[in-house]
C-alpha cells in the first residue's frame, strides 16, 4: 500500500526526500516525433556509476545529458505493494536469468537511480586486499588504498554510510548477531548509505521513508541542480562513431508500456556508458566494437540462501534490512548476510505447490533467510542473442562450488547456533537438514554445480579496466580502448570481484576516473555554461 493521504498531510514537509525537485527532466513517453539532441557529454544510465559521472561532469561546467531507460519514480510514489514496485522499478520484473550451470536468477533496477533504488544500500569501501590486487596484478595506477582514501571519503560525504539505529532492530537482526557470537565470529554492524533508516525493510522495492541514499535522492538531483538534463524512458541502442571517434548515441524513446516509440540521436563529444555490466557490453557490441575483452571476464558474485525455521516467532518482516554482516571469511571468498523477502518472493524460492506450499508458508513468521555471497573465481561472458539483446553466460567452477557449499555450511552453523530447528537448503539433492550434526553432509556433498539454487544482484567486470586491450575493454581510467570519446562508468569496470557489496566501489572508481577525464580529456565544451560564462 501507499502512505494514506492523511498521514502524508500530517507529516508535512518533514521528510526531505519527498521534497526533492528534479529540474531539467523530461520523459520519452511525451515524445511526439523523432529528436536530435546535443550535449558536451551524454551519460547512458543513472545508477551507482552513471549518476556520479553525470553529477561530477555537470558540476565541472559541462552540458550533460543523462539518458535513462527506466522511468522517474520519486520517493513519494514508493509503497509496500511488491508487485507494483517490481513492475515499476525492475528490469524484466527481476526475472532475468544468467544461462549456464546452474542457471542463476539475476535482478537489476530499471528506473532513474538504477539498482541503487532497489538494493539493500550496503556501502563498504573496496577491501584493501582487492585494491592491492588491482595495483599489483593489473598494474592499475592511483588505485592503492592511500590514493583511494580521499575518493572514498568524497563518495561517503554524499552517500552517508552509517550503522543501524538500535530502535529499528527486530528479532531476526538479534538472532543473526547472537548466533555469530556463539560461534566466536564477529558480526559487523553493516554500513549502509542512509540518513536515519527507520527499519521498514522495503529497500528492494524503493524506500518510502526516504532514508536510503540511493542515486535517486543524491547524485541525480545534485547533478540536475548543477545543470545536467535528464531524459527518462529513453533506451540507447548503440554508440555512433565518426571514424574512431564516438560522437554520441542513438536509440528509441519508450511509451507508457515500455514499447519503443520515436527515435532519437544525441551528439556529444563524450559518451559515457553506465548501463550496468550486462547492457554496457551489449551496447558496445551492438556498436560493432569487436575488441576481444568486451563482454568477457564477467563475474556474478553468486548468492546462496538458507532459510532457518525457528520454534519462536521471528516476525521477520519487523526489523531492518541486514543490520549486520560477517566478514570473518572474506579471505575465503565468503560474505555472510541476510535479507528477508516478503512472503510472495520467498514462496517462489521454497518448494511445493498447493497444500505443500501452504504448509511451509504458514511458518513464514518463524523463518529467517540468511545467505552467503561468494567472491567467485569463475568468469563468464556477455553475448548478443538473436534479438541483439545481451545475454549472460556463466557456469560455476568446481572451486566456486566448493566455496558455495562451505558458505552454506557456515550459514547453517550460524542458524543452528541462533536456535533454528531446521534449515532449508539451496540444493536439489539435499533440501533440508534438521541438526548441526548434519552440516557435515553439506561439506561432504559432491561439488556439483547442477542443482544449486543461486541468485545475484552484483554482476561486474564485463568491460573491465586494464593496461592492455588483451586484458580489458577499457584503459586504467575507463576509456574504451581503440576509440576516443567513449567511456564506461559502471560495474563493468571492476577488474575483479570485490567480495563485498560493490556500490561504493563503483561510485569511487567513477569519481576517480571522471576527475581524470576532466583533467585530460574533456574538450572545450561547445555549449557549456563554463564557456558561456
Amino acid at each position: 500500500m501507499a502512505i494514506p493521504a492523511e498521514i502524508t498531510a500530517e507529516l508535512g514537509d518533514r521528510i526531505p526526500e519527498r521534497r526533492i525537485a528534479y529540474p531539467n527532466t523530461e520523459s520519452g513517453r511525451e515524445a511526439r516525433c523523432d529528436a536530435t539532441l546535443a550535449a558536451d557529454a551524454v551519460v547512458v544510465g543513472s545508477g551507482a556509476g552513471g549518476a556520479v559521472a553525470a553529477c561530477l561532469l555537470a558540476e565541472a561546467g559541462l552540458d550533460v545529458l543523462i539518458l535513462e531507460e527506466g522511468s522517474l519514480h520519486r520517493t513519494e510514489s514508493f509503497s509496500t505493494s511488491v508487485l507494483e514496485m517490481m513492475r515499476a522499478l525492475y528490469r524484466d520484473f527481476g526475472a532475468s536469468m544468467i544461462l549456464g550451470t546452474p542457471g542463476i536468477l539475476f535482478a537489476e533496477g530499471r528506473c532513474v537511480g538504477g539498482s541503487t533504488v532497489i538494493n539493500g544500500g550496503m556501502c563498504w569501501r573496496t577491501p584493501e586486499r582487492i585494491l592491492e590486487r588491482w595495483r599489483r596484478d593489473e598494474r592499475l595506477p592511483d588505485i592503492g588504498s592511500k590514493e583511494m582514501e580521499p575518493v572514498f571519503a568524497e563518495v561517503e560525504r554524499e552517500l552517508n554510510p552509517e550503522t543501524q539505529a538500535p530502535d529499528t532492530l527486530g528479532v531476526h537482526n538479534r538472532l543473526f548477531a547472537e548466533g555469530a557470537r556463539k560461534l566466536g565470529w564477529h558480526p559487523r554492524d553493516n554500513l549502509r548509505n542512509m540518513r536515519r533508516c527507520a527499519g521498514l525493510n522495503n529497500c528492494a522495492f524503493g524506500c518510502p521513508t526516504g532514508a536510503k541514499q540511493s542515486s535517486l535522492v543524491t547524485y541525480v538531483p545534485r547533478g540536475l541542480r548543477a545543470g545536467a538534463r535528464l531524459v527518462a524512458d529513453a533506451r540507447v541502442d548503440r554508440v555512433v562513431f565518426s571514424g574512431a571517434q564516438a560522437i554520441g548515441v542513438c536509440g528509441r524513446f519508450l511509451d507508457a508500456d515500455s514499447r519503443p516509440s520515436h527515435r532519437f540521436q544525441v551528439r556529444a563529444p563524450m559518451t559515457i556508458l553506465a548501463a550496468g555490466a550486462r547492457h554496457t557490453p551489449g551496447i558496445l557490441k551492438r556498436s560493432r566494437l569487436r575488441a576481444h575483452a568486451i563482454g568477457r571476464h564477467l563475474t556474478v558474485h553468486p548468492n546462496a540462501k538458507v532459510v532457518g525455521i525457528f520454534e519462536e516467532v521471528v516476525n521477520p518482516w519487523w526489523g531492518t534490512h541486514q543490520a549486520h554482516q560477517i566478514h570473518d571469511f572474506l579471505d575465503q571468498g565468503i560474505l555472510i548476510g541476510y535479507a528477508v523477502p516478503p512472503p510472495g518472493i520467498l514462496a517462489g524460492a521454497l518448494p511445493g505447490i498447493g497444500e505443500e506450499s501452504a504448509a511451509i508458508m504458514s511458518l513464514y513468521n518463524h523463518m529467517f533467510p540468511v545467505g552467503c555471497l561468494i567472491e567467485d573465481t569463475s568468469t563468464g561472458r556477455v553475448v548478443l542473442g538473436p534479438d541483439r539483446q545481451p545475454q549472460m553466460l556463466y557456469s560455476l567452477s568446481r572451486r566456486d562450488t566448493e566455496t558455495t557449499q562451505e558458505g552454506v555450511a557456515k550459514v547453517c552453523e550460524l542458524l543452528f547456533a541462533a536456535g533454528a530447528k531446521r534449515c532449508l537448503l539451496p540444493f536439489a539433492d539435499l533440501a533440508e537438514i534438521r541438526s548441526p550434526d548434519d552440516v557435515g553432509r553439506i561439506r561432504a556433498r559432491r561439488p556439483e554445480p547442477r542443482g544449486i539454487e543461486l541468485m545475484t544482484v552484483h554482476i561486474m567486470g564485463s568491460a573491465r579496466m586494464a593496461l592492455e586491450s588483451s586484458r580489458g575493454a577499457t584503459d586504467a581510467f575507463g576509456r574504451v580502448f581503440d576509440v576516443s570519446g567513449l567511456y564506461v562508468a559502471d560495474a563493468s569496470l571492476l577488474p575483479s570481484p570485490v567480495g563485498v557489496n560493490p556500490q561504493e566501489t563503483i561510485a569511487a572508481l567513477v569519481t576517480r576516473n571522471a576527475r581524470r577525464w576532466l583533467e585530460s580529456d574533456a574538450r572545450r565544451p561547445g555549449r557549456s555554461r563554463a564557456r558561456a560564462s
Binding site: 500500500m1 502512505i3 494514506p4 498521514i7 500530517e10 507529516l11 518533514r14 521528510i15 526531505p16 509503497s79 509496500t80 505493494s81 511488491v82 508487485l83 517490481m86 513492475r87 525492475y90 524484466d92 520484473f93 526475472a95 532475468s96 536469468m97 552517508n160 530502535d167 529499528t168 540518513r195 536515519r196 533508516c197 527507520a198 527499519g199 521498514l200 525493510n201 522495503n202 518510502p208 521513508t209 526516504g210 532514508a211 508500456d257 515500455s258 516476525n315 518482516w317 519487523w318 516478503p342 512472503p343 510472495g344 518472493i345 514462496a347 517462489g348 505447490i353 498447493g354 497444500e355 506450499s357 501452504a358 504448509a359 508458508m361 504458514s362 513464514y364 513468521n365 534479438d387 539483446q389
Partner: protein, 156 residues
C-alpha cells in the same frame, strides 16, 4: 452492467488455461483458502509486459503446450482445463519434476508468478499476520519525528 475486469494482455483462451494452472498450483489449507484466483490471474496479466522478452513471447505457446500436453505427458486423452484439481496438480508436478529443462522452467516460472501474486494479496498477508503496511506508516512517522536535520545537513 458487469464489474468483471478482463485480462488486457492475455487472450481469452490463454486466460482460461492460466486459470486452470492457478487453480491447481495455488496454496490451500493452513489458512490459505482466500477466493482470490481472479485477482491472481489479473496480477499475472498486468505483469506479463514486464517479463523478459523470451518469457513474454513464450508464455502463450507454453500455456497451449500445457493445455494439450496430458495425452503426451500424463497418458490422459484430455486437456488440462478438463482435468479435476488433483489430476491437474499431479500433471503440473510432473512438469516440475521433468528432466526436460524447458518443461521444468515453464511451470517453475508460472508457479513463481502464482505464488507471488497469491501471497502478496492483502487478505493473505493479513491472515499470515504480516503487517508490512502498518510498518510503513510506523516507520515513515518514526523517521519524520526523529530525523536530525542538522546532523544530516538538511536541507541539502
Amino acid at each position: 452492467m458487469s464489474n468483471v475486469t478482463l485480462p488486457r494482455n492475455l487472450s481469452s483462451s490463454s486466460a482460461a488455461i492460466l486459470a486452470a494452472v492457478i487453480d491447481a498450483l495455488r496454496p490451500r489449507g493452513h489458512g490459505f483458502d482466500q477466493s482470490i484466483d481472479e485477482y491472481v490471474l489479473l496480477e499475472i496479466d498486468r505483469t506479463l509486459p514486464c517479463l523478459p522478452r523470451l518469457m513474454r513471447l513464450g508464455l502463450p505457446i507454453g500455456l497451449r503446450l500445457l493445455e494439450w500436453g496430458p495425452p503426451l505427458f500424463a497418458g490422459r486423452a484430455r486437456r488440462l482445463t478438463t482435468l479435476n484439481r488433483q489430476e491437474a496438480r499431479a500433471y503440473l508436478q510432473g512438469w516440475l519434476d521433468s528432466r526436460m529443462t524447458a518443461r521444468r522452467l515453464l511451470v517453475h516460472g508460472l508457479r513463481a508468478l502464482v505464488l507471488l501474486s497469491f501471497y502478496q494479496h492483502p487478505s493473505v498477508l493479513d491472515a499470515m499476520g504480516v503487517r508490512w503496511d502498518r510498518r510503513l506508516i510506523e516507520t515513515v512517522r518514526l523517521r519524520a519525528d526523529t530525523l536530525d536535520h542538522a546532523k544530516y545537513g538538511y536541507p541539502r
